[in-house]
Amino acid sequence: MSQREEMSSYDRLMAAFELKKPDRVPVTPFVREWCVRQAGFKFSEVMTNAEKYVYSQLYSIRKFGYDMVLDLLAVHAESEAMGSVLKIPVDAPPSVDVPAVNDYSKDLPKLRIPHPRKDGRLPLILKGISRMKEAVGGLIPVMGYVQACWRHTCMMRGTERALLDMKKNPDQLKELIDIATESLIVYAEAVVEAGADLIWVSDPTSSGDMISKKAFEEFVFPYLRRQIRAIKRMGAKVFLHICGNVNDRLEVMANTGADAISVDEKVDLARAKSLIGNRVCIMGNISPGVTLLQKTPKDVEEECKVALEKAMAGGGFVLASGCIVPAAVPPENILAMVESVKKYGVYQ
């Protein structure tokens, strides 16, 4: 750190999201269970204790100095609040065990939009967001997580059945996606009100490894755009993340109105930048499973350097991990990622 940093993390990330050049490229490894482990907790503990989760986030960001704190993300809380039953392992993130919607004709009429301050785990997550906002508000951006409507649908229906419904029950599936979208807009409003500066909308089931571009345009895009536009009207920034090969649908993703598009290592950052970098911020794409987990700090630095070379020019870039960072990633690799932007990501 030869140079004094001029901007706060908050201003830096907001500048990048507005396609401007900050003092340096913001760096946001997606750290959830990784922080939980750094702080010495088990994942199941933070599923019921907002204070412990918040502590793990604040502890890690102070120690490692990246640019964003994250709420208790991607634990299917929205789907749980609508009736899906979770399985919660001792020290790993939960999964949906029993989906809420089995028989469309019986279960669809039973679905209710959850009350964010009352139902399921939602109040606990909102409490965490408020606590982080109190602690770092205005200096470090607070990220709130809201599932994408299609993912929420899959977590209520079961992914495989939802995918087959695209062929066999398209009308009922669309009704479910519609309900999912509506419920997420209600939840997002509470997340923003609790203090989130930006919202992560994540949609792994929309990747080109799962569904065609045509299916994405028919079943996902109209609802996703509605969801994202609604969140933006609440005054929050939005970044849309779809893992996997999304090379054929980058433009469609940008058309949702998201401020930033986050991609993993199956997308070439230079290509993404040239295709949609003039209208959305690009986030990506350090490999969490291979580089961060298994390689050395030197390798991490090298991959970060290449990513920065490809996408930082002109601003509008955030160096992020391609997906959630595993708990077992060595701390020195996260440190190497953070140091790389100070070394190679400074704007003149």
């Binding site: 399985k87 992914t159 569904i211 299916a215 969490p288 499973g289 291979v290 959630i324």
Partner: protein, 216 residues
């Protein structure tokens, strides 16, 4: 009767490719009615259809929903044909133990691999998802499997695959079985680094990999 069995096979294959469940059932019944060998109808009709599906999937023309629909059509026809298979197969088919590692419930890719292997005539012991790591070893021993196939879709659960390899080594069973892995965050490099024998980009490669791993 005047039904040409090649015609039946062709139609079975086409119904699988098109994901036409009603058609697949109809042609399976036609096969039974005309005393066409049920095993042959499965292998030359349905399996051939799945081979084409696998190709289309690999080329990026088919995606997961299309493959699932084709598999559903295939399964419906298999249900009709199965009771008519003449059980005189004395040769033991190659057995593959398949599962998604502990902590991971993303089983669509694994299910696609199962569909492909089933349709190619391998015996698949499907352990399902979120499989305790020692179960892979136990099942391989119990069924005398030639191949263990593991998948993980999350970067957080991938390390479980290495633990299974290590477990096999420590139990002195590593030489008795081949290991293939797959799943979105995995790579050939990763497969090599954990001591697996092979890696598949997606389900379309599964049949070829099992064949090459078990080639004598």
């Amino acid at each position: 009767m005047g039904v040409d069995k090649e015609e039946v096979f062709k139609n079975l294959a086409k119904c699988v490719v098109d994901g036409d469940e009603e058609g697949a059932k109809r042609w399976a019944e036609e096969a039974v009615k005309n005393n066409i060998d049920a095993y042959e109808a499965i292998m030359k009709g349905l399996a051939e259809g799945m081979r084409v599906v696998s190709e289309l999937y690999e080329k990026g023309e088919y995606y997961v929903p299309e493959v699932l629909l084709s598999a559903s059509a295939m399964n419906m026809a298999v249900e009709i044909l199965k009771p008519h298979i003449k059980v005189d197969k004395t040769s033991k088919p190659i057995t593959v133990v398949l599962g998604v590692v502990e902590g991971d419930i993303h089983d669509i890719g694994k299910n696609l691999v199962k569909i492909m292997l089933d349709s190619a005539g391998f015996k698949v012991i499907d352990l399902g998802k979120d499989v305790p790591l020692s179960e892979f070893v136990k099942a391989a021993k119990e069924h005398g499997a030639e191949v263990i196939g593991m998948s993980a879709l999350m970067t957080t659960t991938m390390p479980g695959m290495k633990k299974v390899v290590d477990l096999l080594v420590s139990e002195g069973y590593r030489d008795r079985v081949k290991i293939m892995i797959g799943g979105a965050p995995t790579t050939m490099d990763y497969a090599k680094s954990i001591g697996a024998d092979s890696w598949g980009k997606d389900a379309s490669e599964a049949v070829g990999i099992v064949r090459s791993l078990t080639a004598k």
